[in-house]
Symmetry: D2
Subunit: 439 residues, 4 copies
Amino acid sequence: MSSTIKGFDTAKNNDRLAVLIPGLGAVGTTLIAGVMAARKGLARPIGSLTQYAPIDDSENSPRVCDALPVAALDDLVFGGWDIFEENCYQAAREAGVLTESDLAPIREELEAIEPMSAVFDPAYVRNIDGPNVKEAPTKMGLAEQLIDDIETFQNDHGCDRAVAVWCGSTEAHVTMRPVHMDLEAFEQGLRDSDEAISPTMIYAYAHLKAGVPFINGAPNSAVDCPALVELSQQEGVPIAGKDFKTGQTLLKTVLAPGLAARLLGVSGWYSTNILGNRDGAVLDDPDSFKTKEESKLSVLHSSLDAPRHPELYKDLTHKVRIDYYPPRGDNKEGWDNIDIFGWMDYPMQIKINFLCRDSILAAPVALDLALLGDLAHRMGESGVMDWLSFYFKSPQVTEGEQPIHDLFMQRDLLFSKLRSWYLASTEAEPAAQLAAGAE
Amino acid sequence: MSSTIKGFDTAKNNDRLAVLIPGLGAVGTTLIAGVMAARKGLARPIGSLTQYAPIDDSENSPRVCDALPVAALDDLVFGGWDIFEENCYQAAREAGVLTESDLAPIREELEAIEPMSAVFDPAYVRNIDGPNVKEAPTKMGLAEQLIDDIETFQNDHGCDRAVAVWCGSTEAHVTMRPVHMDLEAFEQGLRDSDEAISPTMIYAYAHLKAGVPFINGAPNSAVDCPALVELSQQEGVPIAGKDFKTGQTLLKTVLAPGLAARLLGVSGWYSTNILGNRDGAVLDDPDSFKTKEESKLSVLHSSLDAPRHPELYKDLTHKVRIDYYPPRGDNKEGWDNIDIFGWMDYPMQIKINFLCRDSILAAPVALDLALLGDLAHRMGESGVMDWLSFYFKSPQVTEGEQPIHDLFMQRDLLFSKLRSWYLASTEAEPAAQLAAGAE
Amino acid sequence: MSSTIKGFDTAKNNDRLAVLIPGLGAVGTTLIAGVMAARKGLARPIGSLTQYAPIDDSENSPRVCDALPVAALDDLVFGGWDIFEENCYQAAREAGVLTESDLAPIREELEAIEPMSAVFDPAYVRNIDGPNVKEAPTKMGLAEQLIDDIETFQNDHGCDRAVAVWCGSTEAHVTMRPVHMDLEAFEQGLRDSDEAISPTMIYAYAHLKAGVPFINGAPNSAVDCPALVELSQQEGVPIAGKDFKTGQTLLKTVLAPGLAARLLGVSGWYSTNILGNRDGAVLDDPDSFKTKEESKLSVLHSSLDAPRHPELYKDLTHKVRIDYYPPRGDNKEGWDNIDIFGWMDYPMQIKINFLCRDSILAAPVALDLALLGDLAHRMGESGVMDWLSFYFKSPQVTEGEQPIHDLFMQRDLLFSKLRSWYLASTEAEPAAQLAAGAE
Amino acid sequence: MSSTIKGFDTAKNNDRLAVLIPGLGAVGTTLIAGVMAARKGLARPIGSLTQYAPIDDSENSPRVCDALPVAALDDLVFGGWDIFEENCYQAAREAGVLTESDLAPIREELEAIEPMSAVFDPAYVRNIDGPNVKEAPTKMGLAEQLIDDIETFQNDHGCDRAVAVWCGSTEAHVTMRPVHMDLEAFEQGLRDSDEAISPTMIYAYAHLKAGVPFINGAPNSAVDCPALVELSQQEGVPIAGKDFKTGQTLLKTVLAPGLAARLLGVSGWYSTNILGNRDGAVLDDPDSFKTKEESKLSVLHSSLDAPRHPELYKDLTHKVRIDYYPPRGDNKEGWDNIDIFGWMDYPMQIKINFLCRDSILAAPVALDLALLGDLAHRMGESGVMDWLSFYFKSPQVTEGEQPIHDLFMQRDLLFSKLRSWYLASTEAEPAAQLAAGAE
């Protein structure tokens, strides 16, 4: 890849990129295993827009990863933290997402990744506990240990850059308080071990202080508080979140715009999920569920716009349920019932049963976010990356902006950004030449 | 409504518009009854974009029907043809779509609409037959009777304009032959009663000759042959088709783009439908089913673009099944099973069960098409209206163009046209003023 | 009907039977309206075994209602209690189960049934409240008022017999305490207004004291405590319960025996329900839900017999969820996911979506129970009617017995009782003659 | 196992039993692999009634295989015929039912089973063809080759007894003609190569002539013609059929009796199936489908008894559809929509989605039938085994009898037979002793 984007230092194209993952569970290990397998030509990273989507609609359009200087899969170095001591091979087997025959050829590589000890607080995550946990007198002390970890990891593995993707558990709901409102208060809170500062926030703080972009794949409050937005801008690093948009919610943000496009009314949307992985166990705690529920409930508002269309959407009942159901393992299943109405208010029903695999859907999202978060960083972006909304259930947006949930509008936003970079690059170097260079 | 679109004769705004419907069955009578009820304030024409959609995203955007000089519901005069002699009240009761309590307040108005005798050919529609049928020595003779009907209807009801919306049965599949290839051959074919000219084509010919826009709501070949496209251009009238996009296919063209947006692979899409109305009985004939099947199978191609993404879509098995199942009446039900794959090719499944009501979904589509077909006519458009693709399963497009099936791209195309007219109008008269005037 | 069952006083066949219903809501009014409509020949009491099932498998077997001296529909006189003051016509409209056109012809009859004031305690039912409520210094005082109501009703309406069917709300869960353990303690508890005595128990006590059989259609603790079993035996009246087996549970007790018959393993059974009627609102309270959940969870045990088949059923995860979802009204909908396994432990899944109508399924059950409860009373039975298990989610059985949930075994039990009476009757009078007499 | 059933020669208990399988495809290889794995303690033969069901309801009831002298899994020797030359390991991999990790430990044993060359006629099975096919001047010649095969196999493998289970493809529908009506005509037909004699019939004839019980797992006409019934009686061998009751039909024969038990009406039952294995390819041929459809349509008649309950079942529309859908492989999936009605004729709907595995459900059925067919033979039974109806979609019954489809009645019939043998044995030897002996 030899494109030159204005102001972009292509010399760094072949640098090694540390992909740091707090929470080396089902999603994290599936991501890592998939990239390892893809590097060996044993698997395809299906679902990844950077790897598969053309940058534009032209007939011979290059793919995003060829059109823009995103880090190559070969250049990724994975690391992370977890409360369990199992290495990534053990954790992947435990997670039960990938078959043994898919794990076998990359076993050694996976075994080599051992989790660093985690920041953990049982007040925030109730239904699991583990031994591989940091201790420090204050939350600031924990943050400093993480910063050390980040630097040590980069040095040990010869990485010049890093990006973090939170793949840990859903935490109990955090109400915004003064401690979250500005950076000074937040840092004082860390020193005081303020109970309103969650582990995710500590990770986020540490990464931003270390100059590492932070992506939040869980519904936890993290970089979506004023203090950490301030820090991201101050340190010049991109942040994005929150909550990977995977199964049921993905379909919701596809279907809702479709119903709205046809001006069909919606009187109710009932969604239930069954899942049996560790995520399910965590969400069985009402406080963690509340965090998730809030994230999942938000997605219909912007698509089914009640203020604009009270006749169609004002009486919408939206319910979301998640049930821990061990027989299913990671194979999360959603069932939605949607009550719609049309001509003369006659009712109709749509039912959607999605037999999905949570981590299979999340892994390419995590990959894209790592690659695009890093790319944005190198392009000089900092603060909230609204244009990454495409990947999130509950997109964090710049203050004053409204989140967009419609998947197609989100995609337009994403590609508008990517194409602006691409166009900038191809002004200097025509597309045909670039595509040729990519081969 | 007082907007002035450049070159548009607003004096004609309050003219009465004849809406002529070949096939006064479930869809036609539901459309008519709904408009009648809406005029009395007894029902809402939910699902109609002209009546409910804002013309743009601005906060106080007027609705399409207020932003543009579309005919008012109060100015519509309904008429049509059918092989059965029942008036529209009887036909609506027979169709079983609307409840008796919804039909009661408009009974007299409905009873007043008696179908004109129809052009019918049992070779094209096998499983039904009726007594109210025209006879003539040649197909040209039938066309001439229809032209008479059209003129007489307009005179009798004081209409200055007309628009036709085919709501009749699905016909046996027609293979394109020389007779369809130019207008001269087609007219000779009418005089020779060529067996390759179907009743729908005769209706289409008659309306175009009478200067009336023709919209094709069925999958039948009609205005989508070179001969009739030629005629539509010659006569300066818009044409559009084909096959109203209602239940299962509507969802397909929403969901397929969503899967494609996330670069998820699709290995199979199985769709079955059960329906028990007259439509179902007709489609129980293999030749009629073939026509429908072809229309329904086409919709995935442009969204799941195999040539561009062979790794995702080249092995897609797409099956469509329609079964006549009397217990369900007009309440068509679809069940789709979609086999998708993601990261590392792991398979997942989506199942959609749509308990829809065929005519309830089709009626607002038919309304919009009548209003927009007429509007286009007054705006001086003629020939194929590609921008109406939004409403069709199998959009007819200008020769050399590729049909678009993605509902969201179709919507962009539609609104791009509508907004261009709106912008033209508001250059003379600013939007704010227009909105005020609309109240 | 002229059969003579030994020891049965056929002179009472044409007596009027008071059917007393605590809780004149959706189920109660649907039952009453249906019987009224059936008496006029306007509707069919489908789902009622007494009205439709043959007593045996012989070719010309008479139906249960013709083979045995069950009260005729014409002889039923309905009454009841409710916390709302609406008469049965108003309540039926409010319930939204039956269409207006079905209610119109029986409107006057329904309007004539006005609820007696109810015994109500907001500690037991939290999410609703109403004005039509009795007051008394003690719970015994309330019971005495009910006994008065029962006697007054029978006198006013010329009824010689009565039977009660509880159709009221699900109450908060009651833990068994000493006060429930014998009649003396219970009566002292009534005098002391012991908080552990629920309204349903007060109704049950009152009916038994009045010599009226009591059927419990809700999952509430009522006659299933030793004190009231003792009373039922002492007063010589039948009791039965609890919780009408209607939608999802009905299917469970059909399907589970089927899986067991084929020795298929079951690793999980997830059941969710959405309903929007008053029942749904009540069950939105966790305490009421707990009562219902316990009832719904019990049904798999006897069919999927883990002690006998640990290899098939010992790790079964069984979850039941009920969600209040107003868009659906009384049209309760269940979705079940059942994870099964077969040969070599390979997993399979069954999903069942039941679009049922709660009251439509409950009404014939309530009718049968009223008729069979009364019949049993006349046959000299008293105490717990195990043989009525067929109709209940959580069958109350004689102390020391195990409840049976398998619908087919329950049916065998029921018919074994009915046929024993029938055989007794036909020993005196041969079946052929009896059938003739029934015409 | 040492029980002594009167007149039963227990000395033969440890004989080796040849299980001969015409059609070594998905079902056959799954059966064989499962038995091999079970013998090694690597898998469990779940779904097999002989292996798991207790003979009666007593607390310490022995299992059927311990209560009766059924052949032990260790004593089974598998062989068969197929039109493809692949050995059983290759065929099992091709079938794609079992994972590679399940096949690996038994690979050698499976490889040792090579199919004998098959009798095949493309007029009867159109969509597949293979090279491993017998040739002979007449159909009688083919039968004689099969008889040789059977004898050779038994000699080569030291088997004293054999039983045959047809696991081959569904053939085109055969209309009964004079040639099928008596044995003499049939044998003349074999000599004349009468086109009305199908391959399955030739296999059946050969086995019966060789004194081997013949079980028909497909819907093909085979032993269900008078000629072959006559032969089975003459040769003193049991026969049974037809069409293994596995997925959708299994559930139908569970659910239909459940609805009937509650006297609920059924207006429609729509069943569709998608499957992608070789079976699916064969059934894509309309003539083969017709054979299957007839078998699948028959199952509701006896449960939903329209003559007895015209008010509930006389207008039932029953549709069955099977679609070949390659993405799904052997993982057949059924979707049923059942339209029911209850109190006052109000309609409700049940939808069942069964993600089953055809061969996983069929294998234990085939095992039980082999074991019970052999047991019956040793018990001196011959002719049609009505009591094996439990296992079949379309049970073959003794002339003059009506087939029973209700799964629970079928089970009663089956156990009534098994228990009669068990009781006969325990008269001599008490149950307690027997159970002890079984350990």
